[in-house]
Protein backbone atom coordinates (compact mmCIF):
# COMPACT_ATOMS: atom_id res chain seq x y z
CA UNK A 1 0.00 0.00 0.00
CA UNK A 2 1.59 3.20 -1.12
CA UNK A 3 1.84 5.86 1.44
CA UNK A 4 -0.13 9.01 0.94
CA UNK A 5 2.04 11.82 -0.17
CA UNK A 6 2.34 14.37 2.56
CA UNK A 7 1.78 18.01 1.67
CA UNK A 8 4.54 20.41 2.39
CA UNK A 9 4.47 21.44 6.03
CA UNK A 10 3.77 25.09 5.47
CA UNK A 11 1.31 27.46 6.96
CA UNK A 12 -0.44 29.36 4.29
CA UNK A 13 0.44 33.00 4.59
CA UNK A 14 -2.18 34.29 2.23
CA UNK A 15 -4.48 35.48 4.99
CA UNK A 16 -1.68 37.11 6.91
CA UNK A 17 -2.31 40.44 5.23
CA UNK A 18 -5.98 40.23 6.13
CA UNK A 19 -5.23 39.60 9.76
CA UNK A 20 -2.80 42.45 9.85
CA UNK A 21 -5.35 44.69 8.18
CA UNK A 22 -7.91 43.81 10.80
CA UNK A 23 -5.56 44.72 13.61
CA UNK A 24 -4.52 47.86 11.78
CA UNK A 25 -8.10 49.00 11.44
CA UNK A 26 -8.71 48.33 15.11
CA UNK A 27 -5.83 50.55 16.15
CA UNK A 28 -6.75 53.17 13.57
CA UNK A 29 -10.16 53.48 15.11
CA UNK A 30 -9.11 53.49 18.75
CA UNK A 31 -6.15 55.77 18.30
CA UNK A 32 -6.17 59.31 19.61
CA UNK A 33 -2.86 60.83 18.77
CA UNK A 34 -1.78 62.66 21.87
CA UNK A 35 -3.27 66.13 21.67
CA UNK A 36 -2.42 67.71 24.97
CA UNK A 37 -2.36 71.21 23.71
CA UNK A 38 -4.02 74.26 25.04
CA UNK A 39 -3.77 77.72 26.48
CA UNK A 40 -1.67 77.70 29.62
CA UNK A 41 -2.46 80.07 32.45
CA UNK A 42 -1.33 80.39 36.02
CA UNK A 43 -3.98 80.93 38.67
CA UNK A 44 -3.27 83.38 41.47
CA UNK A 45 -2.57 81.71 44.81
CA UNK A 46 -5.25 81.42 47.44
CA UNK A 47 -5.62 84.67 49.38
CA UNK A 48 -4.20 84.52 52.87
CA UNK A 49 -7.01 85.19 55.37
CA UNK A 50 -4.57 86.66 57.89
CA UNK A 51 -3.35 89.29 55.55
CA UNK A 52 -5.55 92.04 54.22
CA UNK A 53 -5.52 92.28 50.43
CA UNK A 54 -2.70 94.53 49.31
CA UNK A 55 -3.73 98.02 48.44
CA UNK A 56 -2.85 98.19 44.80
CA UNK A 57 -3.10 101.52 43.15
CA UNK A 58 -2.99 101.50 39.41
CA UNK A 59 -2.56 104.41 37.24
CA UNK A 60 -5.57 104.26 34.97
CA UNK A 61 -3.43 104.48 31.87
CA UNK A 62 -1.57 101.30 32.76
CA UNK A 63 -4.71 99.23 32.76
CA UNK A 64 -6.13 97.81 29.57
CA UNK A 65 -9.65 96.66 30.31
CA UNK A 66 -11.42 93.93 28.42
CA UNK A 67 -14.93 93.09 29.55
CA UNK A 68 -17.33 90.50 28.18
CA UNK A 69 -20.94 90.37 29.26
CA UNK A 70 -23.31 87.43 29.39
CA UNK A 71 -24.40 88.08 25.80
CA UNK A 72 -20.79 87.58 24.66
CA UNK A 73 -20.47 91.26 23.77
CA UNK A 74 -17.05 92.68 24.32
CA UNK A 75 -16.08 96.06 25.73
CA UNK A 76 -12.48 97.14 25.19
CA UNK A 77 -11.34 100.24 27.08
CA UNK A 78 -14.93 101.41 27.28
CA UNK A 79 -15.75 100.91 23.63
CA UNK A 80 -17.67 98.00 22.19
CA UNK A 81 -15.76 95.72 19.84
CA UNK A 82 -17.24 92.81 17.96
CA UNK A 83 -14.28 91.33 16.23
CA UNK A 84 -11.72 89.85 18.61
CA UNK A 85 -9.05 89.79 15.90
CA UNK A 86 -8.46 93.54 16.25
CA UNK A 87 -7.63 93.03 19.89
CA UNK A 88 -4.13 91.77 19.27
CA UNK A 89 -2.92 94.98 17.63
CA UNK A 90 -4.54 97.09 20.32
CA UNK A 91 -2.81 95.15 23.08
CA UNK A 92 0.57 95.36 21.37
CA UNK A 93 0.17 99.08 20.90
CA UNK A 94 -0.83 99.45 24.55
CA UNK A 95 2.05 97.43 25.96
CA UNK A 96 4.78 98.87 23.76
CA UNK A 97 3.65 102.46 24.18
CA UNK A 98 6.51 103.47 26.54
CA UNK A 99 4.76 106.62 27.62
CA UNK A 100 4.35 108.19 24.21
CA UNK A 101 0.58 108.26 24.06
CA UNK A 102 -0.79 109.59 27.37
CA UNK A 103 -3.77 107.25 27.15
CA UNK A 104 -1.69 104.09 26.92
CA UNK A 105 0.81 102.49 29.25
CA UNK A 106 3.86 104.12 30.88
CA UNK A 107 6.16 101.18 30.28
CA UNK A 108 5.77 97.52 29.32
CA UNK A 109 6.68 96.51 32.87
CA UNK A 110 3.74 98.35 34.36
CA UNK A 111 1.16 97.51 31.73
CA UNK A 112 -1.59 95.17 32.89
CA UNK A 113 -4.31 93.67 30.76
CA UNK A 114 -7.41 93.14 32.83
CA UNK A 115 -9.79 90.55 31.46
CA UNK A 116 -13.15 90.18 33.09
CA UNK A 117 -16.04 87.99 32.05
CA UNK A 118 -19.51 87.29 33.34
CA UNK A 119 -20.76 83.99 34.68
CA UNK A 120 -22.99 83.83 31.63
CA UNK A 121 -20.20 84.34 29.10
CA UNK A 122 -19.70 81.32 26.88
CA UNK A 123 -16.44 79.45 27.25
CA UNK A 124 -15.88 79.59 23.51
CA UNK A 125 -15.81 83.39 23.55
CA UNK A 126 -13.56 83.39 26.61
CA UNK A 127 -11.00 81.16 24.93
CA UNK A 128 -11.17 83.18 21.72
CA UNK A 129 -10.38 86.43 23.52
CA UNK A 130 -7.76 84.92 25.84
CA UNK A 131 -6.11 83.46 22.76
CA UNK A 132 -5.81 86.93 21.23
CA UNK A 133 -4.46 88.45 24.44
CA UNK A 134 -1.81 85.78 24.83
CA UNK A 135 -1.08 85.96 21.12
CA UNK A 136 -0.26 89.66 21.45
CA UNK A 137 2.33 88.94 24.14
CA UNK A 138 3.84 86.01 22.26
CA UNK A 139 4.19 88.23 19.20
CA UNK A 140 5.96 90.88 21.24
CA UNK A 141 8.37 88.27 22.60
CA UNK A 142 8.92 86.80 19.17
CA UNK A 143 9.73 90.19 17.69
CA UNK A 144 12.21 90.92 20.46
CA UNK A 145 14.00 87.63 20.06
CA UNK A 146 13.83 87.54 16.29
CA UNK A 147 12.15 84.16 16.09
CA UNK A 148 8.62 83.15 15.19
CA UNK A 149 5.85 82.78 17.73
CA UNK A 150 5.78 79.01 17.41
CA UNK A 151 9.36 78.80 18.71
CA UNK A 152 8.41 80.99 21.65
CA UNK A 153 5.49 78.82 22.63
CA UNK A 154 7.49 75.61 22.39
CA UNK A 155 10.51 76.91 24.23
CA UNK A 156 11.64 74.43 26.89
CA UNK A 157 15.23 74.71 27.98
CA UNK A 158 16.39 72.93 24.83
CA UNK A 159 18.37 75.98 23.79
CA UNK A 160 19.80 77.58 26.93
CA UNK A 161 20.93 80.75 25.15
CA UNK A 162 17.48 81.40 23.74
CA UNK A 163 15.85 80.47 27.04
CA UNK A 164 18.03 83.00 28.89
CA UNK A 165 17.18 85.76 26.47
CA UNK A 166 13.52 84.81 26.71
CA UNK A 167 13.63 85.01 30.51
CA UNK A 168 15.21 88.43 30.27
CA UNK A 169 12.58 89.74 27.89
CA UNK A 170 9.90 88.29 30.12
CA UNK A 171 11.33 90.17 33.09
CA UNK A 172 11.16 93.37 31.13
CA UNK A 173 7.73 92.71 29.63
CA UNK A 174 5.86 90.35 31.94
CA UNK A 175 2.80 88.68 30.50
CA UNK A 176 0.43 90.50 32.80
CA UNK A 177 -3.00 89.22 31.92
CA UNK A 178 -5.16 89.49 34.97
CA UNK A 179 -8.22 87.28 34.76
CA UNK A 180 -10.79 88.60 37.18
CA UNK A 181 -13.43 86.53 38.84
CA UNK A 182 -16.57 86.62 36.70
CA UNK A 183 -19.37 88.96 37.70
CA UNK A 184 -22.80 87.61 38.48
CA UNK A 185 -24.93 90.24 36.85
CA UNK A 186 -25.91 88.27 33.79
CA UNK A 187 -27.50 85.40 35.65
CA UNK A 188 -26.19 82.13 34.34
CA UNK A 189 -25.47 79.14 36.52
Amino acid sequence: MPRKKRGAGEISTGSMADIAFLLLIFFLVTTTIASDKGLAIQLPPKPDPNQPPPDVRFNERNLFKVLINSQDNMLVEGEPMDDASQLRERVKEFVLNNGRNPELSDSPGEAVVSFKTDRGTSYERYVEVLDELQGAYYEIYAERLGVDTKTIREINNAEPSLQDRYDEVKKEIPMAISIAEPSKTGGGS
Binding site: A17, F21, T31, I33, D36, K37, Y126, S189
Partner: protein, 155 residues
Protein backbone atom coordinates in the same frame (compact mmCIF):
# COMPACT_ATOMS: atom_id res chain seq x y z
CA UNK B 1 14.84 35.32 -40.62
CA UNK B 2 12.74 34.83 -37.62
CA UNK B 3 15.76 34.70 -35.46
CA UNK B 4 14.41 37.11 -32.92
CA UNK B 5 12.59 35.21 -30.36
CA UNK B 6 9.86 37.09 -28.69
CA UNK B 7 10.92 37.94 -25.21
CA UNK B 8 9.07 36.06 -22.60
CA UNK B 9 6.28 38.27 -21.40
CA UNK B 10 7.17 39.80 -18.03
CA UNK B 11 4.79 38.86 -15.31
CA UNK B 12 2.04 41.45 -14.97
CA UNK B 13 1.33 40.73 -11.32
CA UNK B 14 2.49 43.03 -8.60
CA UNK B 15 4.35 40.92 -6.12
CA UNK B 16 2.24 40.77 -3.01
CA UNK B 17 4.59 38.86 -0.81
CA UNK B 18 5.79 42.05 0.87
CA UNK B 19 2.27 43.24 1.57
CA UNK B 20 1.98 41.73 5.05
CA UNK B 21 5.23 43.36 6.03
CA UNK B 22 4.02 46.76 4.94
CA UNK B 23 0.77 46.32 6.76
CA UNK B 24 2.58 45.18 9.88
CA UNK B 25 4.74 48.23 9.75
CA UNK B 26 1.66 50.46 9.68
CA UNK B 27 0.17 48.36 12.43
CA UNK B 28 3.16 48.84 14.68
CA UNK B 29 3.10 52.56 14.05
CA UNK B 30 -0.48 52.85 15.22
CA UNK B 31 0.10 50.48 18.11
CA UNK B 32 2.89 52.67 19.37
CA UNK B 33 1.12 55.99 18.93
CA UNK B 34 -2.22 54.83 20.23
CA UNK B 35 -3.53 55.89 23.60
CA UNK B 36 -6.49 53.83 24.63
CA UNK B 37 -9.19 55.98 26.10
CA UNK B 38 -9.07 55.47 29.84
CA UNK B 39 -12.19 57.36 30.76
CA UNK B 40 -15.69 57.08 29.44
CA UNK B 41 -16.93 60.53 28.69
CA UNK B 42 -20.25 61.31 30.28
CA UNK B 43 -20.34 64.87 29.05
CA UNK B 44 -20.39 66.39 25.59
CA UNK B 45 -17.07 67.72 24.42
CA UNK B 46 -16.63 70.15 21.62
CA UNK B 47 -13.26 71.63 22.35
CA UNK B 48 -12.89 75.27 21.31
CA UNK B 49 -10.36 76.34 18.72
CA UNK B 50 -7.37 78.52 19.50
CA UNK B 51 -4.02 79.45 18.01
CA UNK B 52 -1.59 80.14 20.83
CA UNK B 53 -1.31 76.55 21.93
CA UNK B 54 1.32 75.23 24.27
CA UNK B 55 2.27 71.61 24.40
CA UNK B 56 2.37 69.77 27.68
CA UNK B 57 5.87 68.53 28.25
CA UNK B 58 5.21 65.86 30.83
CA UNK B 59 2.09 63.83 30.51
CA UNK B 60 2.35 62.33 33.97
CA UNK B 61 1.85 65.75 35.53
CA UNK B 62 -1.44 66.35 33.78
CA UNK B 63 -4.84 65.54 35.23
CA UNK B 64 -8.02 66.07 33.36
CA UNK B 65 -11.26 67.72 34.32
CA UNK B 66 -14.08 67.53 31.82
CA UNK B 67 -16.89 70.05 31.77
CA UNK B 68 -19.90 70.00 29.52
CA UNK B 69 -23.53 69.13 29.05
CA UNK B 70 -24.23 65.53 30.12
CA UNK B 71 -24.85 63.11 27.26
CA UNK B 72 -27.53 61.34 29.24
CA UNK B 73 -29.76 64.33 29.82
CA UNK B 74 -32.55 62.18 31.22
CA UNK B 75 -30.44 61.12 34.15
CA UNK B 76 -28.12 64.01 34.81
CA UNK B 77 -30.08 67.00 33.52
CA UNK B 78 -29.06 69.40 30.81
CA UNK B 79 -26.94 71.84 32.82
CA UNK B 80 -23.18 71.52 32.30
CA UNK B 81 -21.54 69.20 34.81
CA UNK B 82 -18.02 68.39 35.90
CA UNK B 83 -16.51 64.99 35.27
CA UNK B 84 -13.32 63.54 36.66
CA UNK B 85 -12.23 59.98 36.02
CA UNK B 86 -15.52 58.19 35.42
CA UNK B 87 -17.92 60.12 37.59
CA UNK B 88 -19.75 63.39 37.60
CA UNK B 89 -18.92 65.42 40.68
CA UNK B 90 -19.88 68.67 42.33
CA UNK B 91 -17.36 71.52 42.43
CA UNK B 92 -16.73 71.01 46.15
CA UNK B 93 -15.14 67.59 45.64
CA UNK B 94 -12.50 68.91 43.26
CA UNK B 95 -10.11 69.65 46.13
CA UNK B 96 -10.31 66.01 47.13
CA UNK B 97 -9.70 64.91 43.54
CA UNK B 98 -6.68 67.18 43.19
CA UNK B 99 -5.21 65.81 46.40
CA UNK B 100 -5.68 62.28 45.14
CA UNK B 101 -3.91 63.18 41.92
CA UNK B 102 -1.12 64.87 43.84
CA UNK B 103 -0.59 61.75 45.93
CA UNK B 104 0.23 59.83 42.77
CA UNK B 105 3.15 62.13 42.05
CA UNK B 106 6.48 62.22 43.79
CA UNK B 107 7.16 64.81 46.48
CA UNK B 108 9.07 67.21 44.27
CA UNK B 109 6.59 67.19 41.45
CA UNK B 110 3.47 67.95 43.44
CA UNK B 111 3.46 71.67 42.95
CA UNK B 112 3.98 71.24 39.23
CA UNK B 113 0.72 69.42 38.71
CA UNK B 114 -1.19 70.78 35.74
CA UNK B 115 -4.94 70.57 35.47
CA UNK B 116 -6.12 70.31 31.90
CA UNK B 117 -9.64 71.65 31.62
CA UNK B 118 -11.49 70.11 28.75
CA UNK B 119 -14.49 72.32 28.49
CA UNK B 120 -17.30 72.24 25.97
CA UNK B 121 -17.61 75.38 23.86
CA UNK B 122 -21.15 75.97 25.03
CA UNK B 123 -20.44 75.82 28.74
CA UNK B 124 -20.66 79.08 30.61
CA UNK B 125 -17.87 80.78 32.49
CA UNK B 126 -19.73 80.38 35.77
CA UNK B 127 -18.96 76.72 36.17
CA UNK B 128 -15.40 77.14 34.86
CA UNK B 129 -14.80 79.85 37.43
CA UNK B 130 -16.20 77.66 40.22
CA UNK B 131 -13.72 74.97 39.24
CA UNK B 132 -10.87 77.47 39.20
CA UNK B 133 -11.75 78.73 42.66
CA UNK B 134 -11.56 75.16 43.90
CA UNK B 135 -8.24 74.64 42.17
CA UNK B 136 -6.87 77.69 43.93
CA UNK B 137 -8.16 76.21 47.16
CA UNK B 138 -6.33 72.96 46.36
CA UNK B 139 -3.18 74.85 45.37
CA UNK B 140 -3.11 73.44 41.85
CA UNK B 141 -2.36 76.68 40.09
CA UNK B 142 -1.23 75.52 36.68
CA UNK B 143 -4.15 75.31 34.34
CA UNK B 144 -4.31 74.38 30.70
CA UNK B 145 -7.42 75.15 28.69
CA UNK B 146 -7.40 72.30 26.22
CA UNK B 147 -8.10 73.48 22.73
CA UNK B 148 -7.55 72.32 19.21
CA UNK B 149 -5.50 74.14 16.62
CA UNK B 150 -7.45 76.48 14.40
CA UNK B 151 -7.09 74.91 10.98
CA UNK B 152 -7.60 78.01 8.87
CA UNK B 153 -5.41 80.35 10.85
CA UNK B 154 -1.76 81.17 10.44
CA UNK B 155 0.16 79.63 13.33
Amino acid sequence: MAKFKKKAQASQDIPTSALPDIIFMLLFFFMVTTVLRETDLLVLQRIPKAEQLKKMEKKSLVSYIYIGKPKDTGRYGSEPRIQVNDVLISPETIVQFVNQEKDKLSEGERDQITMALKVDSEAKMGIVSDVQQQLREANALKVLYSSVPDAGAVP
